[in-house]
């Protein structure tokens, strides 16, 4: 009864729940492909200019969504991502003209530092993440306005090539998107930090009793979020070749929407960063589709809202089907064991 072969045979059985997170990422990837096809159809083709435009607007959102996913996987939420993007953006532009690469490093460092402050406030002052990051968001926004009170500044001339340019016909931003998906996969599935943060999101008490340093992991999650936003701020600086103290504001709600579309559960523990990146591309494609079909972009918000609700429905349907299949598989197994 206990031969390794028996176990290997059982391994062939579907394990829907374990795969649920990835299935949800597939759902958002499928949605992304469908929208892409619609776009190509309406646009009568797809050239490098379109590819460049979509990649460039998707990349900052994807980074913000990736950062938010770290936090949401641990049951938290980071409402400061918009402000952190703005802050990093203006730091990059304010230092960029004179100090070049130093400005970029400073922008990334300040993003991570802002995340560290969020993590410390949430962990040590025991303030709920929603309130803590709402408060720090306001503070970061204020600092951004002090650093650069009006749009302006400059970036090193080579920065756009590295962020929003293209190599031949391939947009650099598309390469970064691909790299992000791969990196995200490695972090979540193959690093101690990634496993720990998912354990924390699934059950804090279980994580604690397994000896996971819960506080450190939680702080790390906010730092990761801040760093991703720092990257997004730098990319935006490369795109506009200047700084703008309110540029991040629109990214907060869109990033959360992208995370939800990507299949990350709001109750923590289940989700993928890759899904969130697909979700960000989905939201970008929505506005592109509206643009080429001649519908006023004023409708964009309504369509985005509908897409989020639709994606949630699809995920919950998926979940229910998955659970049913799991139960059936289990019944089959116990049936085997009983006879």
């Amino acid at each position: 009864m206990s031969s390794p072969r028996a176990r290997r045979a059982k391994r062939a059985l579907p394990r829907p729940i374990a795969r649920l997170a990835w299935q949800r990422a597939y759902t958002s990837a499928a949605l992304m492909l469908a929208l892409f096809i619609v776009y190509v159809f309406l646009n009568h083709g797809f050239g490098w200019i379109e590819a460049l435009g979509i990649s460039n607007s998707a990349l900052p959102l994807a980074l913000a969504a990736a950062g938010e996913t770290f936090v949401m996987l641990t049951n938290g939420i980071d409402l400061s991502i918009g402000s952190v993007i703005s802050l990093s953006n203006v730091v990059c532009a304010a230092l960029g003209a004179d100090h070049g690469a130093l400005g970029i490093i400073a922008a990334l460092a300040i993003g991570a530092a802002a995340g560290l402050v969020n993590g410390l406030v949430v962990s040590y002052m025991r303030i709920a993440p929603l309130i803590a990051t709402l408060a720090t968001s306001s503070i970061y926004m204020g600092i951004a306005l002090i650093v650069l009170s009006a749009p302006g500044g400059a970036v090193p001339p080579w920065l756009p090539n590295w962020t929003v340019g293209s190599i031949g016909t391939i947009p650099v931003a598309a390469i970064w998107l691909l790299v992000s998906v791969l990196l995200a996969w490695i972090v979540l599935r193959r690093t101690r930090f990634g496993i720990n943060l998912q354990a924390l999101g699934g059950s804090e008490s279980a994580a604690r009793s397994a000896g996971i340093k819960v506080t450190r992991t939680r702080i790390g999650v906010y730092v990761a979020s801040g760093f991703c936003c720092g990257l997004a701020g730098v990319i935006l600086a490369g795109l506009t070749q200047s700084g703008e103290p309110t540029i991040g504001t629109v990214y907060l709600l869109n990033a959360i929407a992208a995370v939800v579309v990507g299949g990350t559960s709001l109750s923590g523990g289940v989700g993928t960063i890759a899904g969130s990146i697909f979700g960000a591309i989905v939201l970008t494609l929505v506005s592109s589709v509206l643009l080429v079909s001649g519908i006023s972009t004023n409708y964009q918000y309504i369509v985005t809202g509908l897409i989020v609700i639709g994606a949630l429905l699809a995920h919950s349907l998926h979940g229910r089907l998955g659970l049913r299949a799991a139960r059936r598989a289990q019944q089959a197994q116990t049936g085997v064991a009983a006879s």
Partner: protein, 515 residues
């Protein structure tokens, strides 16, 4: 002074310092002393049981040793070295592993992930899934758990399998001290047997095993010695040979306890409270029927996982299945628990943390939760009625509380279960479903609980009891339906009910199936 309460027994097989020592541990929650001067001394390669009633402080002591709960006073020594009690990782690195009563697995992660969570195997800095699965498989095989797939999500496993995974997890860390906190309470006999073998092996290898259990027979089967707790204090340390079960129970309770089970009723009216017809819990099975009689206690027996739980969940409107439910001659539809409660059916759930209680809310609110409608007028809750209700139940079940407004999470496990039962009893049910409700409850409370059940039955209710403890079914029930594959395949009644008969029937129904 606490040292005076310590037993003068000489530690068995000792060549010097004891492996584990706790001295004068005190811990207070709200106004309640969970621990009030607890002392233990356990030797190397010793299997030691910690006995005590609900709320005697056993679980708190374990949590102190594990570094999860910080004591107000006292110290713990491992091999004579003081243990840093500030974090779980300190205890872990001192070689202490705990299998908790409340499961500590992350449901969303796979079995393999959970097993290696404390020490992720890495190759070139990244987690190696292959190694993780290999380690998991080895640990599972050691316990004979070949039917558990290391890659399956824990959330998809039934409770008893999760418990075994939990134990497997504890064996991976090669620990000096393994603490089993109610590890057997949700396990079937075969699994308990495997666990015992494991414990004996570990003792051979020099590991100290501390077990907390309410199954007295396990202590006398497995343990070398025991420490008895009462009201957060150590009563004494005893060798297993030195006292018998009855003495131990009276030491725990502080008085003598007579028979645990109330007398069965000689006559039953036979009047039906609920009639179940054409029941099919899944599509594969033939429809079957069952009648619940007024005044009876019906037990659901059989091997673990033969659909007993599923049946009760279905009847309570919380599980899949189909069938006709007739109450007082009229057909009723039960599609959700609210329908069941309205029709006089309540269920005392097994996993109190998930299904039964709102842990962060006060005891008082929890007690009133199921019957809010009755305590409110025009949707506004009448506080005086609610308070009376809570006070009455707290007195009736001798629930040990600091104040009725304490959150339930501050109570011990057994006490929490009392709150669950108190809450549902307030609905004055006609049919009470018990799903392994005495899991993790001490002898004293169990006795009270059995008497209460009998009282309900005598008042005209029908009690349906599913228990993984066959002894309990035999002692308590008027009829026992032995389940196989979701169907009550045999019915034992009156004189036919003996431990042997139930076990025989559990296997006989399997035999006839195979033939």
């Amino acid at each position: 002074m606490s040292a005076e309460q310590r037993s003068d027994e000489i530690l068995k097989g000792q060549d010097g310092v004891p492996r584990l020592q706790a001295r004068g541990i005190r811990k207070q929650y709200g106004g309640v002393h969970a621990l009030d001067g607890a002392d233990i001394e356990i030797g190397r390669a010793e299997v030691h049981a910690i006995l005590g009633e609900n709320g005697a402080g056993k679980s708190t002591l374990v949590k102190v040793i594990a570094g999860v709960v910080r004591p107000d006073e006292g110290e713990v020594l491992v091999d004579g070295e003081p243990l840093d009690l500030s974090s779980p990782s300190a205890s872990r690195s001192a070689g202490i592993t705990v299998v908790y009563q409340e499961l500590s697995l992350v449901p969303q992660l796979s079995v393999a992930h959970n097993l290696v969570l404390a020490d992720l195997p890495r190759r070139r800095g990244l987690l190696s899934l292959d190694r993780a699965e290999e380690i998991a498989e080895r640990a599972l095989d050691k316990l004979g758990l070949t039917h558990i797939d290391p890659r399956a999500a824990v959330s998809g496993l039934p409770l008893d399998q999760r418990q075994m995974v939990e134990i497997a997890k504890a064996t991976i860390a090669e620990s000096r001290i393994l603490i089993l906190d109610e590890a057997t309470s949700s396990l079937a006999n075969a699994e308990v047997e495997r666990l015992f073998e494991l414990v004996r092996d570990l003792r051979e290898q020099g590991t100290t095993v501390v077990m907390i259990t309410h199954r007295m027979s396990e202590v006398w089967t497995l343990a070398d010695s025991m420490t008895i707790f009462r009201d957060g204090r150590t009563v004494g340390r005893y060798d297993v040979g030195a006292i018998d079960q009855r003495e131990a129970v009276s030491l725990m309770a502080g008085r003598d306890i007579s028979a645990a089970f109330p007398a069965k009723r000689s006559r039953r009216t036979g009047e039906a409270v609920l009639e179940l017809r054409d029941v099919r819990l899944n599509r594969r099975q033939e429809p079957w029927g069952l009648t619940l009689q007024r005044g009876e206690i019906l037990g659901l027996g059989g091997l673990q996982g033969q659909g007993q739980r599923h049946f009760l969940h279905w009847l309570y409107g919380a599980g899949s299945g189909q069938g006709t439910i007739v109450r007082n001659g009229a057909r009723v539809r039960i599609r959700r628990p609210a329908d069941a409660i309205r029709n006089g059916i309540v269920m005392i759930p097994e996993d109190r943390a998930i299904e039964g209680l709102h842990l962060n809310l006060p005891i008082r609110w929890n007690l009133a939760m199921a019957t809010l409608r009755r305590w409110s007028r025009l949707g506004v809750i009448r506080f005086s009625a609610e308070r009376q209700l809570a006070d009455r139940r707290i007195a009736q079940f001798s629930i040990k509380v600091g104040a009725p407004f304490q959150p339930v999470s501050a109570l011990s496990g057994g006490t929490q279960q009392k709150v669950v039962i108190g809450k549902f009893m307030e609905a004055e049910p006609e049919v009470v479903l018990f799903v392994d409700s005495t899991r993790g409850i001490d002898v004293q409370t169990k006795t009270e609980f059995y008497a209460m059940l009998r009282e309900f039955a005598d008042d005209g209710a029908a009690c349906v009891v599913y228990s993984s403890d066959t002894e309990e079914l035999v002692g308590l029930c008027d009829r026992i339906a032995v389940f196989h594959d979701g169907v009550p395949a045999a019915m034992l009644e009156g004189e036919e009910i003996t431990q042997d008969a139930v076990v025989a029937a559990s296997f006989a129904v399997l035999g006839s199936e195979a033939a």
